[in-house]
Subunit: 466 residues, 2 copies
C-alpha cells in the first residue's frame, strides 16, 4: 500500500538541489557565489547605480575532507527593506523578480538554494547586512530556513545608524571543493566584468596558502538603460493566465478596455477589430464570460495576427561593449559584431547580439569555441544542450573559408523578459525555434564578414608571393 | 522600488513548465503521455501485478492551429484511495514516491504538470476513474487545479459498484502537435514494451484520418522482483536531514540505537566503533545533542569508512530481458550484455546494465547510437547532456576494432533508489563520477567482447580468402 504525503516546497528544492545546480561540491561552490553576485548586479545596475561589488572567499579551518569557506558578497545597491529580508533569504519562491522585465534573477529561488546548501553542509545561519535606499538605518540579520515549513527563523536582528553604508552584504558558510571550483569562479567573474565596464569588481580568493586579488575598475560611469517592466503580449496568453487576469479585474469592465489596458502594443482599433473578428462584442463585460468563453478568447488571442513584440523594455549590451569585451578577453586579430532586430517567442521579446573573434591570441581548436551570455549572466556549464552550441555545430564553416583546427570563438548574448532556461540552475538556453533562428542569422552575419577578412588575407598573401 | 511577493508552488511550476518538459506543443504531448504511462507501470509492476496498460489518443475537432487530443491511459494497478485522488492529481508536490525506493516516479509532480498543461490549453478538467485494490467501489472524479492555492477543485464525484474493474483510468484533454509528437510517442511505447515482456500494452493513436493500433502481448507472467524501500545510508546524510530525523525520534534514545535503526547496513559493532572513534558516547541520548553536535555527527558520518551500499532493494532488468529486448528491436548480428556489481553515490545504491549490438539490421552511423533507460523508463530527449552519451563519446572505439561509420548501438539501463536526473522532465542522467565510472566499465566490458567477435570475423575472412 502506498503512503501519500505532501512535500513542502522548501523540502522539495532541498532534496532536488542537484536540479538547481547544486550537483557536487565543486559546482555548489560556483553556484553559491554566482547566485549572490547576480543578486548584487540586479540590485545596482537595474536601478541606475554604477555597481561596486566586493566578493571575498575565505578558507577557514575545515573539520572534514572538504574546504570550509566563508563567502561574502557586498554591493552598493538598493538594499532590501527589513520587512522583506527574512523571506527574501529564507523562504523559497519569494522575490521581486516575478514581473515581466529583463533581469538576471527569475525564479525567486537562487539565494535560498545557497542558504539551504550552507545549512546542510555547515549548519550555520546566513548573515545579511542591508541599508535600503533612502533609509538611514542599517539592519543586520542572522537567519536559517525552517525547511519543513519554508519559513525563516530569525536568530539575531539588530538595527543601527548608517555610517554612509547603502546596499547589501551577504555572508554564507559552505563546505565544498575550492580547488576545483576556483578556475570556474575566476572565469565567471572575469566574464562578468568584461561586459560590465561600468562596474567596480573586487574579488579576493584563496590561492595555495595565501590569497589573490582580482580587481576590475570601471572605465565609465555610463550605465546601459535599465530594463523596464512591460505588459504581457497576446501571444503569451493561455486560458489559465487570462482567467487569473480577469478574476482580478472589475467585472463590469468591457472586453475592449480589458485588452487595451492589459496587453502590450494593442491599441483600441486593433483590439476592436480582433474582438469583432473573433466573435466577441467590444462592449461585452468581463462578468459575462464563462470559463469556456475565456478558453475561446485565449485561443483566439494566440492565433490572431498581432504586431509582434519589439524590444520594448529590453536592455542589450550594445556592440561597443561587446567589441571591447571581446578585444580585452580574447585579444584576437579580427572581430565582427552584430545586433539582430528584436524578435519574440510566445509573446516574450528578445534580442540576440553576437560577436565573432578570429586569430591573434586565440588558440586553434577542432570546433569553434563559444562564450555565452544571457541577460548579462556568463553561462559556463551545460554547453552541450545550449542553443548556441547547437547553432554553431550545425553551420558548415567551410563556406566561410574556415578550416579546422581554427582560432575561432563565437560570443553570443541573449536578453529577454523571459529567458528559456533549460534548468533551474540557469546554465543553458533551450533551442526555442525563433531564438535558434535569430542566433543562426547573427552568427552567419558575422561569419560572412570573417570570410571577407580571410579572403582579403588570402589575396594579400598570394600578392606577396608573386 | 522592487515589489516583493511569494509565488505559490503550483504557479511556479505552471510558469516554469518548460523546465519540467513542457517546452513546446510537440514535447508537451509526449510528456503528458509518458507521465501517465509511468504512473500506470509503477502502479502495477511495483505491486506484483502483470501490467495491462491501454493508451488511447484521439483527435477531436480542433478550434485552433493545434490538434485537440483526448488522452486516456488505463491500468489494472492498485488504484488510488478516494481520499487521496484529488491531491494526487491536482495538488503539486503530492505523491507516494517520496520514499527511498526505486520507482519511475520521483517528484510528486508528473501528472499535475500534465493536468496544468491540459487546463491552460483547453480549460477542461481531468477525469479519473479508480478502484483501489480490495475496494469493491469505483470512484469517478472530474477535477481542476486551483493554481493560486495549489488545491484541487472537485467538479464531479460519484461512487458506483465495481463490475470487476480494478485499477485506474485517467483522461485528459490537451492541445498540441500530434503529427510531430507521434514518432517519439511510438518509440517511447515500443521501448517500454521491449524491456517489459510481462506487460500487455495496447496503444491506439491517430494516423492520417484514421487510427492505428500497436499491441504488445505479454510473453511471460513472471515479473521482476518488486523494488523495496531501503533505509538511508550514512554517506547520504547531511546536517539538515540528520536534524530532521533526530527531531522525529524519542529524545531519550541512545545514539547507538538511533544509528543502527535508521541507517542501512550499520550493525551494533560498527555503529559503536564509529561513535567512539568520532568522539560520541554510545549511550549518549539524542536530547543531549546541540545543533553543532549534529553538524559534527553528520560530518563524521559522511567521512567515516562504512561498508558501501549494495544493490539492496534494487530491481535491475536482468541480462535475459536486456538481450531479448535488444534482439527484438535492433535485430543485430551480435549482442554482448553485462551487469555491473552494485555501486553507490552519496549513499544511494545503483546498478548499471549494458548491452552492445552490432551489425545485422543496424544502419551504420558516424558515432555509436545509444538507447537509454533509467528505472525502466526509456529516455528519448536531451541525449547531449546524458552521462551515457559522454561515456560513449570519450571511448576510443578504434581500440575495439570499430571504424566509423559503423553499425553500433550501445544500450544502457541504470536503476537506483535515487536517479541523478538533470531536470524535472526526467530525460537525462547527470554525470555523477561513480555512475560515469560504472557505465564506462560496462561499455568497455561489452566492447571487448565485440572486439573478439570482430577479430574472429577478420580471421575467418582471411581464412576464406586463401
Ligand atoms: N544583494 C541584494 N540586493 C537587493 N535585493 C536582493 C539582494 N539579494 C537578494 N535580493 C532580493 O531577494 C530576492 C530573492 O533573491 P533570490 O536570488 O532568491 O531570487 P531572484 O534573484 O529573484 O531569482 P533567482 O532565483 O533566479 O535568483 C530578490 O528577488 C531580490 O528582491
Ligand atoms: N495510475 C495510477 N495508479 C495508481 N496511483 C497513481 C496513478 N497515477 C498517479 N498515482 C498516484 O499519484 C501520485 C502522484 O503522481 P505524480 O505523477 O504526480 O507523481 P509521482 O509519480 O509520484 O512522481 P513524478 O513527478 O516523478 O511523476 C503517485 O505518487 C501515485 O501515488
Ligand atoms: Mg537571485
Ligand atoms: Mg508520476
Amino acid at each position: 500500500p502506498e503512503t501519500f504525503r505532501a512535500l513542502g516546497v522548501a523540502e522539495f528544492f532541498y532534496r532536488n538541489r542537484a536540479i538547481a545546480g547544486f550537483t557536487n561540491p565543486t559546482r555548489s561552490v560556483y553556484q553559491t557565489i554566482r547566485e549572490l553576485i547576480e543578486n548584487a548586479l540586479d540590485a545596482t545596475e537595474m536601478h541606475g547605480i554604477p555597481p561596486d561589488i566586493r566578493v571575498i572567499v575565505k578558507k577557514l579551518q575545515s573539520e572534514s575532507d572538504f574546504d570550509l569557506l566563508e563567502i561574502t558578497v557586498e554591493d552598493n545597491g538598493i538594499g532590501i527593506p527589513p520587512e522583506h529580508v527574512p523571506r527574501a533569504f529564507c523562504s523559497v519562491l519569494y522575490g521581486s523578480k516575478y514581473v515581466n522585465r529583463q533581469s538576471r534573477g527569475v525564479f525567486g529561488l537562487g539565494v535560498k538554494m545557497a542558504v539551504l546548501y550552507s545549512q546542510l553542509t555547515t549548519g550555520r545561519p546566513v548573515k545579511v547586512v542591508t541599508s535600503p535606499l533612502g533609509d538611514p538605518a542599517v539592519y543586520e540579520f542572522e537567519m536559517t530556513i525552517d525547511i519543513k515549513t519554508n519559513t525563516p527563523k530569525v536568530l539575531k536582528k539588530s538595527v543601527s545608524r548608517s555610517n554612509n553604508f547603502q546596499g547589501t552584504k551577504v555572508t554564507l558558510y559552505i563546505e565544498g571543493s575550492w580547488g576545483s571550483a576556483k578556475s570556474r569562479v575566476v572565469e565567471y567573474i572575469k566574464r562578468t566584468a568584461i561586459i560590465a565596464p561600468y562596474a567596480n569588481i573586487y574579488f579576493r580568493y584563496p590561492e595555495d596558502d595565501s590569497y589573490r586579488i582580482l580587481r576590475f575598475s570601471r572605465s565609465t560611469t555610463e550605465l546601459p538603460p535599465a530594463p523596464r517592466e512591460v505588459l504581457p503580449h497576446p501571444y503569451g496568453v493561455d486560458a489559465e493566465r487570462l482567467k487569473s487576469m480577469i478574476e482580478h479585474e472589475e467585472p463590469n469592465k468591457t472586453l475592449l478596455r480589458f485588452i487595451t489596458e492589459h496587453f502590450a502594443g494593442v491599441g483600441r482599433v486593433t483590439a476592436a477589430k480582433f474582438l469583432r473578428e473573433s466573435g466577441f462584442g467590444v462592449r461585452r463585460t468581463l462578468r459575462t464570460l464563462k470559463d469556456k468563453d475565456i478558453v475561446r478568447l485565449a485561443r483566439a488571442m494566440k492565433t490572431w495576427k498581432w504586431k509582434r513584440p519589439g524590444g520594448e523594455g529590453l536592455s542589450p549590451l550594445g556592440e561597443e561593449i561587446l567589441k571591447l569585451g571581446i578585444q580585452e578577453v580574447l585579444k584576437p586579430e579580427f572581430i565582427a559584431t552584430t545586433c539582430r532586430p528584436p524578435s519574440s517567442y510566445e509573446g516574450y521579446g528578445f534580442i540576440v547580439e553576437c560577436g565573432l573573434a578570429w586569430g591573434g591570441a586565440i588558440q586553434p581548436t577542432q570546433t569553434p569555441s563559444i562564450i555565452r551570455f544571457a541577460n548579462r549572466i556568463p553561462l559556463l556549464y551545460d554547453e552541450n544542450i545550449d542553443v548556441t552550441r547547437k547553432v554553431v555545430d550545425k553551420i558548415d564553416w567551410s563556406t566561410y573559408k574556415v578550416a579546422f583546427p581554427a582560432p575561432l570563438v563565437v560570443v553570443t548574448h541573449v536578453c529577454s523578459t523571459k529567458l528559456p532556461f533549460h534548468g533551474l540552475g540557469k546554465e543553458a538556453i533551450a533551442d526555442i525555434p525563433e531564438l535558434e533562428h535569430e542566433i543562426e542569422m547573427a552568427v552567419r552575419d558575422c561569419a560572412r564578414r570573417l570570410r571577407e577578412h580571410l579572403s582579403k588575407i588570402e589575396r594579400e598573401t598570394r600578392h606577396i608571393r608573386r
